[in-house]
Symmetry: C2
Subunit: 205 residues, 2 copies
């Protein structure tokens, strides 16, 4: 592209390094900021720098946190003996949004994926095993995606963990609430039928 | 959304104020920056601030520029008597990318649009008329979009300008190079036929 301003060119270059944002979108965003009060650009820049420099990972569960231990791990209302294993912080947010989980989390920071060069040592698996060895955990809930990487990681963890005296569970898979049976894929519908639950149980939710 | 970190929440809020970026995309971008070296966030923030604080509008053509007069207006190779009227700086870039225009520009900064509360006084029309009154302009090329707003602005300018002794032209509309006739819309194909050009002329491009 032919820019009349070197500064626009630099801004477009930096913005377009973000994932999913090309040069045209970057230019649109840059021109938008130019039309807005400079206060907005200042707030954006400051928020990004603050995020990058002043956040850390919770030393308990490894989620992103402003403090050494995150608010979930610190909360006295949380059931510390139930541990939900998730891939990243977005999954923590998704589960928190449901309001239906009262335990704590363990963020792996990724999934085992030899294709992408991610092995068990790149994840927070050692820290997970350490937690289990304290004997304070009674239930471990697997909440990883059902991709090949997710299944691999589940199985790897299962083999490491199965000799501990801990209840292992996994989140229920089935047809989404409101979805129609005829349009569901076979694997999902198959699991829904296989893992059917007592009718009374479904009323309590 | 339920954020475990107040700083993530702030960053997501600021990023999602950009046009076309929702909360989910903003979160994805924020988490991406957290995974990258902090140098990248610094470069992005600095480029945005630099763009917002250190660019200005060229006093001749009103395009975005790092200097008081932009490089196009300053260039001695440019034909200063041909003036192309465009909506905004993106159009300048688009035309510059073709390499097929040797005149200078006049950026209106928008189009007349009563629905959006944009009137003639919000655009750089006074400055355009001033330029024409110097008598140094021999041709004015309209290159506004063929939307209702573009046509309105074209017509408004036409009425202001028609008494000056200046050649008025508009960019050619027609079927794009490489497009097939059968899929073209009727209005465009109609214009293509109506404004046909001598065959020899098409060979020179």
């Amino acid at each position: 592209m032919n820019f009349s301003s070197r500064k626009i060119e630099q801004a477009v270059e930096e913005i377009s390094r973000l994932p999913g944002i090309g040069k045209k979108t970057a230019l649109r965003l840059a021109l938008y900021l130019l039309r807005r009060p400079s206060l907005q650009t200042e707030a954006l820049s400051a928020a990004l720098m603050d995020l990058r420099n002043n956040t850390t990972f919770c030393k308990e569960c490894h989620t992103i946190s402003d403090t050494e231990t995150c608010s979930i791990c610190l909360s006295p209302k949380r059931e510390k003996s139930i541990l939900c294993v998730v891939e990243d912080v977005r999954d923590v947010m998704a589960i928190e949004n449901t309001g239906g989980y009262n335990g704590v989390y363990h963020v792996l920071g990724g999934l085992i994926s030899p294709m992408d060069g991610v092995g068990p040592s790149d994840l927070t698996i050692v820290s997970l095993i350490d937690k289990l060895q304290t004997g304070e955990i009674s239930e471990l809930v697997f909440a990883l995606n059902t991709t090949m990487e997710g299944d691999t990681t589940n199985f790897y963890l299962y083999r490491k963990i199965k000799d501990f005296n801990i209840k292992l569970t996994t989140i229920a898979r089935g047809i989404a609430v409101g979805d129609e049976l005829e349009f569901a894929d076979e694997v999902t519908l198959g699991r829904s039928i296989q893992h059917r639950i007592p009718y009374e149980q479904s009323l309590s939710q």
